[in-house]
């Protein structure tokens, strides 16, 4: 019976199915992709690091550290630092990360170069491997030379990939690999420059867990760190798990949207079947039998939708490695695993049955008397049964979110968030219907009144359409606004008072000459900031060693091992604001040194105003007192500091300087960089204008991925929209035909329908954009801590675009009425 009945309503049931197909496809493709990612990370664990384990340290190892490293017998080592390089061929200069490699690294995975042989001969013949994109940008070829500090080396080849590096990471500072033996002659490893020493080990038989347990604490004391390929890959796995969870949630929203579509379509479907159910009951069908007829239909559709959605999902996941290529430090091999596929089919079944449950329950309570009623009220279903059904739906949604997020609190927040959004949208939809009914414009023209009546007519789709349109618009607008906030945050002030070129690592004896070079280029010196490096020796009178072994300590590890770059001055700058204590501009003689620290350091070091900190300033212990805490706007791309000393303390300490200027054009910036690199090879120049382009590029890539996911929700929204509109098609057609019979012209029918859908489209998309405004404002205030100036694009593009789309779908519905004769349709539908 279920099958026979379904055959008769095939077209309608196919539309229900379409609502969930995309949602299932999205969930399955992301599940499969996440699974593949985890498998790949585990399988490629060693080649991700290139070694079994490594030790890294941000300074030349102490004697004790060196002894520990030597005792483990490293198989390769490197030193890396950021520096300017020059390309004499075309006078180009660029800030790069130089890696000086010693011996044969990597042991797992490989250096991918062009030509392939360059990966091996660059060591023997003494050449440099240069990031492939950089070579393209500067039109460089193997054989051209690169000037690094005091030496020039021939370029051996283009570097395409090295284990453990992502394309995005290298877009900020591209890689240049040279043999370790040349590092010293570059003369770039001077005092003050930031460098990193790494030692790689090829020891497959070592018990890595035991090694980490025993050696890590010893190395920590010496400010060094040991990483095994297992710990690195599990850290990487966790990082991608977070990305996976986010993508999963977006897919889940698409699926939920589809389910709302199912619930609404089944609601109308069952309403139309009430008579048929009553007839069945008259003929002796039991409640269970009539309920099962429709339950089996929906379950069948769910399974079929699950299978089709899963098949599409399997195809779609092939796209993800292409989309995410730049963010993955390895090549992703795609394979198909059983779990997501079974889950996809089950999800189709469970979600469609659950969401159809509420309307399906009505079949249970249909009285056989309905047969005799012409236009009677349909039977009321039990309130208790409805509550049980709603509870089951919420519980399932919670359980599924928990399964995706593995965190009960996040899952709860997600469910509450989703319910709030759905609640707000449906609340406004219901409110709108009441408002239109209460303040019905009785004096308006016939077509306007008729179109407004359609909004709260029986079997109306107002709530579902507003949810579908609103949610879709909300998602894309939020993504758009958020992208805007992030881009604004990274934007550099284009006024001449703002620095856009920062020179770092300027030695004290070079300051005057660097300043002269600025002036020779007609560029002002905006800042000249002295830097003094130091480490924490004790915090609140507790020694470093004691703090490291104290398991109850609230202090973050980085505070204890970080080399702080501090400065001193007698004034605060724009990006700083005192939030606790009192700012001391000049140190009084005889007092303990009174410093100011940033808010984040106060939190991570668990110190407050009045707490003592002793610093180790290149061997000299310096007791200080925290006198004030500053809020620092780190997004402001100017030199900011966690620790600030008053004037009169550090003037004679070993230091180096940072000088900034504003180069009005790219050409003047390039010329200054060339001059500086030629004269002062150790000085690095950060070009903020270029940096901004990189940040924008990364954000564009991220937003592309997010848009890709939002696409599922939007497309599902459109399908639900088409489904909802088509479900009410027959009723609308019948009424339009009746109007035609009574003498309505095509234009009048068209206007009635157009006004109705235009109203729904405008209200839905406006609601979505307004909700997005609120959520983006909250994000701006609480997460990004940035002022929020909303872009007009969602209002100017999304609002009319989506409204027109809804209008188009609505009008396509009555095409049949406009094309054919009233009698034909009147007969077909009666």
């Amino acid at each position: 019976m279920a099958w026979r009945d379904a055959k008769a309503s095939r077209a309608r049931l196919l539309l229900f199915m379409a609502s969930i197909i995309l949602g299932i496809a999205a969930v399955v493709s992301i599940q499969l992709f996440s699974q593949n990612l985890t498998d790949n990370i585990q399988r490629q664990s060693k080649s991700l690091m290139g070694a079994d384990f490594r030790i890294d340290i941000n300074e030349l190892p102490s004697e004790r550290a060196q002894a520990i490293i030597d005792s483990l017998k490293p198989d390769a080592s490197e030193v890396s630092f950021v520096s300017m390089v020059a390309f004499p061929k075309n006078d180009g200069t660029k800030l790069v990360r130089v890696r000086g490699l010693q011996w044969d690294f990597p042991f797992y995975g490989k250096l991918e170069t062009e030509p392939v042989t360059a990966a091996t001969f660059y060591q023997t013949l003494g050449g440099a491997l240069v990031d492939a994109t950089l070579m393209l940008q500067y039109n460089l070829h193997p054989g051209d030379s690169i000037k690094i500090g005091e030496i020039s080396l021939p370029i051996a080849g283009a570097l395409n990939a090295i284990p453990g590096n992502t394309a995005v990471a290298t877009s900020v500072a591209p890689l240049v690999i040279i043999p370790y033996r040349f590092i010293e002659s570059t003369e770039l490893l001077q005092f003050g420059s930031r460098k990193r020493y790494e030692y790689f080990f090829n020891q497959p038989n070592t018990n890595l867990v035991l090694l980490e347990e025993r050696v890590q604490p010893m190395l920590e004391v010496e400010n060094a760190d040991l990483d095994t390929h297992i710990s690195t890959s599990s850290r990487l796995g966790r990082r991608y798990d977070n990305v996976g969870s986010f993508l999963n949630l977006t897919a889940f929203i698409a699926l939920l949207l589809g389910c709302v579509g199912i619930a609404s379509s089944v609601n109308i479907y069952i309403k139309e079947k009430i008579k048929a159910i009553a007839v069945l009951k008259c003929l002796g069908a039991s409640r269970k039998q009539s309920f099962l007829i429709f339950l089996i239909q929906i379950a069948g559709i769910g399974i079929l939708g699950g299978i089709i959605g899963t098949a599409i999902g399997v195809g779609l996941q092939e796209l993800f490695p292409i989309v995410l290529k730049e963010f993955l430090p390895f090549d992703l091999t795609i394979s198909i695993s059983a779990q997501p596929i079974i889950m996809g089919v089950l999800l189709g079944l469970v979600m469609s049955v659950l969401f159809a449950l509420l309307p399906l329950l009505r079949t249970w309570y249909v009285s056989p008397l309905e047969v005799l009623r012409v236009n009677g009220e349909t039977s009321k279903q039990s309130r208790k049964a409805s509550y049980v059904a709603i509870s089951v739906i919420v519980l399932f949604l919670y359980a599924f979110s928990y399964w995706l997020l593995r965190d009960w609190l996040f899952a709860l927040a997600f469910i509450v968030g989703i319910m709030a959004t759905f609640g707000i949208l449906s609340g406004i939809a219901i409110g709108t219907m009441r408002l239109v009914r209460t303040y019905f414009p009785k004096g308006a023209g016939f077509t306007t009144r008729q179109s407004l009546l359609n909004l709260f007519r029986p079997n109306n789709q107002t709530v579902v359409l507003l949810i579908a349109i609103g949610l879709g618009t909300f998602l894309i607008s939020t993504l758009y606004f958020t992208k805007d906030i992030l881009l604004d945050k990274a934007e550099i002030g284009e006024t001449s008072e703002n620095a856009n070129l920062i020179t770092i690592d300027v030695q004290p004896d070079q300051v005057a000459e660097v300043e002269n070079t600025f002036k020779a280029n007609d560029l002002p010196v905006l800042d000249n900031i002295p830097l003094v490096t130091m480490r924490v020796h004790s915090l609140k009178n507790e020694s470093l060693n004691k703090l490291r072994t104290d398991t109850t300590s609230q202090i973050k590890g980085w505070v204890l091992s970080h080399e702080f770059r501090t400065t001193y001055r007698s004034n605060l700058i724009d990006s700083e604001e005192i939030i606790a204590g009192e700012w001391v501009p000049v140190q009084k003689k005889g007092d303990t040194i009174q410093i100011s620290i940033s808010e984040n350091l106060a939190k991570d070091a668990d110190v407050s105003v009045g707490d003592p900190i002793v610093f180790n300033v290149q061997g000299v212990l310096m007791p200080t007192l925290v006198k004030s805490i500053r809020k620092v706007d780190w997004a402001n791309l100017q030199p900011n500091f966690t620790i600030l000393f008053p004037s009169g303390v550090l003037e004679n300490a070993p230091q180096f300087n940072v000088l900034t200027t504003n180069a009005p054009t790219e050409a003047s910036s390039a010329k200054l960089q060339r001059d500086l690199v030629t004269k002062f090879p150790n000085v690095s120049v950060i070009d903020l204008r270029q940096m901004f382009t990189v940040v924008e590029d990364i954000l564009n890539k991220v937003s592309w991925i997010i848009n890709f996911m939002a696409f599922f929700s939007i497309l599902t929204g459109i399908i639900v929209l088409i489904g909802s509109v088509r479900t009410s098609k027959y009723q609308r057609i019948k009424e339009s035909v009746l109007l035609r019979t009574l003498g309505a012209k095509n234009k009048q029918i068209l206007t009635i329908t157009a006004l109705e859908y235009l109203f729904l489209g405008i209200l839905g998309s406006l609601l979505g954009i307004l909700l997005a405004l609120v959520s983006s404002l909250l994000l701006a205030v609480f997460v990004f801590k940035e002022p929020f100036t909303p872009s007009l694009i969602p209002f100017l593009v999304f609002l009319p675009g989506i409204s027109l789309l809804v209008l188009g779908i609505g009008l396509s519905n009555i095409r049949e009425v406009l094309r054919s004769s009233p009698l034909g349709i009147l007969r077909k539908n009666t």
Binding site: V374, P458, T741, L742, G743, K745, N746, K747, P822
Partner: protein, 229 residues
């Protein structure tokens, strides 16, 4: 007498699967202005199709329909709609009221479509005439079958039509209610001089009209004047 409806050589065929089904074959007749006219015949004889073609709800495969001096074949859909709106009234067996409109609004629709200013006043008068003055704000679902059909009658006369087509107007009503509705139709016909074309199975009702057209298998069996004057 002036002819309000002239049907000449009307043919209508429908596609049924791969076959062509002829529903009307060479049908010709005329209806005089102000006349009461009935079309009778067994189910499937083509009565409703004939009514649809005569009212311009569909187009014939051959033959012509002249309604109120207009040859329908030469008019497009919008022009036919305008003609219906100005000259024609309809009553259906299953009432065909718009469920979202009240009785008053349903009756106002034809006038509203014309853009008439006093649609509501005219609708109220008509509802008063059919005895529903205290039900004007009720929705169709709140009215009985007889009341719904009376609303439909009021709607049919709201635009003061020259001709009214009624398709089995008493088919869904009990005898007593049916009689009331028929009485109403004839009274309005008398008062306003509206031509009445009624499709019916009820031979007693047909006998009360001035002319009876009998259809069978899409062809005219007889077209007789009755004793009614």
């Amino acid at each position: 007498m002036t002819k309000i409806l002239k049907i000449n050589g009307l043919e209508k065929t429908y596609k049924s699967g791969s076959k062509q089904l002829t529903v009307l074959h060479d049908v010709s007749f005329e209806v005089e202005k102000g006349q009461t006219f009935s079309i009778v015949g067994p189910s499937g004889s083509g009565k409703t199709t004939l009514l649809g073609l005569a009212a311009g709800l569909d187009t014939p495969n051959a033959g012509t329909v002249e309604l109120c001096g207009h040859i329908l074949n030469t008019l497009n859909e919008d022009e036919r709609a305008q003609l219906r709106n100005e000259e024609v009234g309809f009553i259906f067996q299953d009432f065909q009221l718009l469920p979202t409109l009240t009785a008053l609004e349903n009756v106002s629709v034809p006038l509203e479509l014309q853009g008439a200013k006093h649609a509501a006043t005219r609708a109220k008068e008509l509802l008063q005439k059919v005895g529903l003055e205290d039900r004007i704000h009720h929705y169709p679902s709140q009215l009985s079958g007889g009341e719904q059909q009376r609303v439909a009658v009021a709607r049919a006369f709201s635009n003061s039509p020259s001709i009214l087509f009624a398709d089995e107007p008493t088919g869904n009503l009990d005898e007593e209610t049916g009689e009331k509705v028929i009485q109403l139709l004839f009274n309005l016909n008398e008062e306003a001089g509206t031509t009445l074309v009624i499709i019916t199975h009820d031979l007693d009702l047909a006998a009360r009209t001035q002319q009876i057209l009998r259809l069978k298998g899409g062809k005219i069996l007889t077209n007789e004047t009755t004793a009614v004057i």
